[in-house]
Symmetry: C2
Subunit: 407 residues, 2 copies
């Protein structure tokens, strides 16, 4: 059987001609330990940001599907540029390669432009190419909808392209090359004495990713469901990186109560007061939002009184405007009943140890209150406790929690 | 019946957000005089040059089809970017528009990457879009090969995209918007008192275009064969421009013996000495060159003596290296028998009057010799006489010929 590895390189690793050639040589080196390689590339440096900036000049109504379609077509060019260049670079150093857009690589998605989801991968297209090529470069971050339109998977979507390809092609593993050494117990810019995590379970990584670590959450979901072996490594430094594996496997070697303290900034909160408390009210609020691609994060509903209830939820600062517009349009409540708060942050403790032992929540709340940090919202999962606090308190909070649970 | 006009905007007219919005408003204005518009766009400003520069860093063997394929995929992104942006800009000002890559617009080509030729246009794809849209933006310069690969039509190929679409869609006319006022009797940078030509025949324009005027020659060929009504205008100044029409129609209004004095720089000459003079020798030389996309221009063969002959031809300076490589590979003659000369220029007189009246050639040669300009090669067509001279003599030659035939 053919051994396949999927590698993914981020934009920082491809920001100029020299770096592209370095990566090409790295890829060539990998061919000594594996038969065939699929390499997923992001757009060069900050070229996606530049395209977003250009397009935003003309992007009027973000809920207009035609706009989102043209915008996706625009953004997808960044990855096609780097894929074409990488394939040229590889052939220059004697590697049999070719480059494919997401569409030509058989990555089928739904038609939710801007944050499309991969529905299936037509693996025949890449297997055909493998008959005469050793390395297939795939433009990350994109796919093709049923109606043949170019779609993009949302920011960080190249991770998802890579893991989905690794799963569909039965690759040995998926290696994510990035500009950091791996996953840390907290954001090193916020908590200087944070540590590199050697092994992490999919579940923990999922909580870390969705809470601020630099991986696309959906890529971890797909890895977890399909048990794709993954490593996250620095693209230039030859360090060990972080290995993702099933919880059981991980616990054989290491067991931490709390694995990491992820943080994230740029959170907004919307509160809807006095809404009718009837079945289906939540879906009537959130379905229209999801249909235009707004990700709602933490949701809290207070107890009902006299047939009405209050509902709070958080979302990205950047989505606040279009969310409010949609809420008013959908007529769930009138404008006076909507309160908003911006510049909030999230801080969490994540660890598989949390699910078995009580007392973590109270230790977390005490650590925050000791520092005079007010908690705006609380939400928990099996292996995570999250507090929404002021963005300006984020650093203080992360340091104090790192000291309490990890140091 | 639906009235359709095709407009084409060059890169200089689209070099920043402000210019794109200006063009969008111009397009919106055009909708008051026509039902539907097809707008072909080039890449923004010099973005194609930037992509060429990036790709050339890694482009090793220009005769490798895989390289040319990746290179085409790279270059095609420039026009997709401007098409997407233009469509967004149009919808922002209330125009029903969409944008299509060459492939999605149904532009089918052969598979000669880098200088592909349009084989057919599947007009249904655009007609379908016209059911709900008024303006279809098409990424110029590109198409799709039978095997589904993205191809490019060669430098200036957006003109060809526009004229081919105008012909296939039975458009009323094709308007080429550019950064000059139209076609001049000579390059105004070389001959300051050159004049704007109001009407020009396809045949004359063809000779002008292939000899240095700023239009893609194949676009004129297609216009001539299909009698597409064309105008060439400045994209910002509201001037009349140059109208292309059939010779008969043009002559009704104006009859010049010599219409223009086109010039071009960057010409190389290759001479093959002592090659065997046998049937098929010319095709055995030129077929391999054309298969790798090298355009040979003027060809002169001297009389045969003792079974051998000498053959000279001109080509772009930029193709000289790959041409020599191919000639040596194809074994037509040995290296010692190949002579080359670079930094030559072409100057011509073009005009339908030339075919009916003798004496133009001798007047031309005398005007050049009066200025001490040595003629390296001569070639003529029905309506054109061309001399290959030193590049450094070009300005002197053009001015003297303009004075002799046009002033």
């Amino acid at each position: 059987m053919v051994n396949i590895i999927v590698q993914k390189y981020g934009g920082t690793s491809l920001s100029n001609e020299e770096k592209i050639l370095n990566v090409a040589n790295k890829i060539k080196g990998s061919l000594s330990i594996v038969d065939k390689l699929i390499v997923v590339v992001s757009a060069m440096g900050n070229s996606t940001d530049n395209l977003v900036k250009l397009g935003s000049e003309f992007l009027d109504d973000q809920s207009d599907l035609e706009n989102l379609r043209d915008f996706d077509q625009l953004l997808s060019t960044g990855e096609i540029v780097s894929a074409s260049l990488m394939s040229l670079a590889l052939r220059k150093i004697g590697v049999k390669s070719t480059s494919l857009s997401g569409s030509k690589a058989g990555i089928n998605t739904n038609s939710l432009h801007g944050s499309a989801r991969i529905s299936s991968i037509n693996t025949e297209l890449i297997f055909e190419q493998f008959e005469s090529k050793d390395v297939i470069i795939v433009a990350g971050f994109q796919g093709v909808s049923e109606s043949g339109e170019t779609t993009t998977l949302g920011r960080g979507g190249s991770d998802t392209s890579a893991v989905a390809l690794a799963s569909a092609m039965n690759a040995e593993r998926c290696e994510i090359y990035t500009d950091v050494d791996g996953i840390f117990s907290a954001d090193p810019r916020i908590v200087p004495n944070s540590k590199l995590i050697e092994y992490i379970s999919y579940e923990e990584m999922l909580e870390m990713a969705s809470l601020g670590a630099k991986m696309h959450p959906r890529s971890i979901e797909i890895a977890a469901i399909n048990e794709v072996a993954m490593t996250i490594k620095h693209s230039e430094r030859n360090t060990k990186g972080t290995i993702l594996r099933k919880e059981g496997e991980k616990n054989m070697e290491i067991r931490n109560a709390v694995t990491g303290i992820p943080t994230s900034k740029g959170v907004s909160k919307i509160t809807l007061n006095n809404i009718k408390d009837k079945p289906g009210i939540a879906s009537s609020i959130f379905e229209p939002l999801s249909s235009i691609g707004i990700n709602v994060d933490v949701i809290v509903q207070t107890a009902s009184s006299e047939g009405t209830t209050n509902l709070s939820f958080t979302l990205d600062d950047k989505d606040l405007k279009s969310c409010l517009k949609e809420l008013i349009k959908s007529n769930v409540t009138n404008e006076d009943n909507i309160q908003t708060q911006s510049s909030l942050g999230k801080v969490s403790i994540v660890g598989t140890g949390i699910q078995n032992q009580p007392g973590y929540a109270s230790r977390m709340f005490k650590a925050l209150s000791d520092k005079n940090i007010n908690i705006e919202m609380i939400t928990t999962s099996e292996i995570r406790i999250t507090c929404i606090i002021k963005e300006s308190d984020l650093e203080k909070a992360a340091k104090s929690l790192h000291k309490e649970f990890i140091d």
